[in-house]
Symmetry: C2
């Protein structure tokens, strides 16, 4: 390897309100060579996820990202140096590389990935996003044929795959998204049965219209008012897949939870369950096999929204939090 | 049968705020004889449940009780006339007899009960209360040995049984109740490991002290602020049994739900699930067998709080909503 400098982005300051470019700072370090048990990867693509913002709010399923820290982020890397016999030059690896050009990590923090084309699929449909959609539905929501499945952030990386899996499972699929272009995309291109634009429509009445048999399963990526609207229209024995709460990530944590909890859960025997995709790691191979089958048959269309250049990662995340992406957003580093 | 008059209590007016005696009205009707397919029962004990108040708030898993209606309520009756060959004089039956001395109902609305002594146990430990505790734990909460189980309304009919089942299952059991006498009773008599008096203690810090390993399973009978306090101290993979929300029954419905939903559910992979005990009807015989075994071995102590006289049913319910009962409250009618 020839590079000796590593550009990286630090979280300069923890945002109190909305995340802005001023909260990041470019930094340069020397690239260190891997010691025994370590792997050095050249970062190729960084996955931009709403959860990145949540990590700044405090400890979650991982330690908080604090002021001065390297900004955390999952990424796809290529091994360029290895102090572990299980990794060799050219291997593709997945891990929390952080927002930088080169990541030096203990080998067990990486997961080796198969070589396939396009490699970006390893971060979208076969990565955290696609797997999250897959396990949310197949382990928690368990939609049955003919049931109505509602999905929020439906044009996002998880939602767009979840909706297509819902169609494969035989559901009526209704997506909630934040622009007419997104609503148009998920219905005409991805095969959703209906879409609700939560920015221009009254969500309660639009859902009533889009879900004549009410709601059986809700794939919740946003929390907040939309979760509340869905709760009040959920059928007996409904299931709510708690995947994320984008509505609460970019600012102070909400003061209130949704009304109807626990009352509606009791009366309608509703299940709500949160999950983190990494809990299903042992089942990833089967999931990727299923997803690849559906992609191959054209039943899942994959859309990636690729931003060029590490230095644009902050704006890529800020824009994602404002809902500007269609499909999976990635930053191409090298 | 000799009686010809049937005293009953009507809901005179749907309460807007707290329930009071002025919302009920005594009425007298003639006792009608059963036609074909009908059963006439003399009401012996009426079950007083917090849910009775919730039924006045609107449609739940049953139609709302409206102004002018006979007040609804589960009860234990004795058949005194039958137009159905499956029921004969002297049979004990369970059903929504309402608050009255004689109940005439289509036969399928009754469930025949075994004769056992004391018969009141058919409405407490072997009735809705005990069965609710049983299925909430064995089908939803699934506490494991060594886990911490927290129970609200712990000195009530459901909570007091749930806590004792939790001990049988090998849990650390912590009860939340509204008086020192209740806290004393559940710890000294029923074997709970600790108790929190939510009226005199700060629930957050008292729970932290009582649950050094945090909370794995929460049997929620109250909702509201206590649910929120528990949520923030629930371990990864915790389970919340949504059984009721007494805190919201006696007055307007709450404006807000608990904070931390869905955020904490996601981060900590928490499950919340509501249930209604009658969904488990097919499994009642096994449950009653288990409960009877534990009662026989002295592992479950049954406490009943019996109020004499139909005319005292309103005050019995009002008092229950204010938390004055220990164990299962019943009204002895005859």
């Amino acid at each position: 390897m020839s590079a000796s400098k590593n550009r990286q982005l630090l979280l300069k300051e923890v945002p109190k309100g909305k995340l802005g470019p001023e909260h990041f700072q470019l930094n340069e370090t020397d690239v260190q060579q891997p010691g025994e048990g370590e792997v050095l990867a050249r970062v190729r693509y960084i996955s931009i996820d709403a959860a990145n913002r949540a990590w700044m709010q405090g400890t979650t399923y991982r330690a908080a990202v604090k002021a001065g820290d390297l900004m955390a982020g999952y990424a796809l890397g290529e091994v360029i140096g290895s102090g572990d016999p299980k990794y060799k030059q050219g291997d593709l690896v997945f891990g929390d590389c952080g927002w930088q050009e080169y990541a030096l990590r203990p080998a067990p923090e990486f997961t080796k990935l198969p070589a396939l084309e396009p490699v970006t699929h390893l971060l979208s449909v076969y990565g955290v996003a696609g797997l999250t959609a897959y396990f949310g539905l197949t382990d928690i929501g368990l939609p049955k044929e003919g049931e109505t499945l509602v999905i929020s952030a439906a044009a996002g990386s998880v939602g767009s795959v979840a909706g297509q899996i819902g169609k494969i499972m035989g559901c009526r699929v209704v997506g909630i998204a934040g622009s007419d272009a997104k609503c148009e995309w998920i219905t005409s291109e991805l095969g959703f049965d209906a879409a609700v634009n939560y920015k221009t429509e009254d969500v309660h009445s639009a859902l009533r219209k889009a879900c004549p048999d009410k709601i059986d399963v809700y794939f919740d990526n946003v929390g907040g008012d939309i979760l509340e609207a869905v709760l009040f229209q959920t059928n007996a024995n409904g299931r709510i897949i708690c995947c994320g709460m984008i509505s609460g990530y970019d600012g102070e944590l909400p003061l209130n939870g949704p009304r109807g909890i626990p009352g509606l859960l009791v009366v309608n025997r509703i299940l709500m369950r949160g999950f983190i995709v990494t809990d299903y790691m042992a089942k990833f191979p089967q999931a990727v096999k299923d997803l690849a089958g559906w992609v191959g048959e054209g039943k899942i269309k994959v859309r990636e929204d690729i931003v060029e250049g590490l230095e644009n990662a902050p704006q890529a995340l800020i824009g994602l939090l404002h809902g500007e992406n269609l499909g999976k957003r990635l930053v191409k580093v090298s």
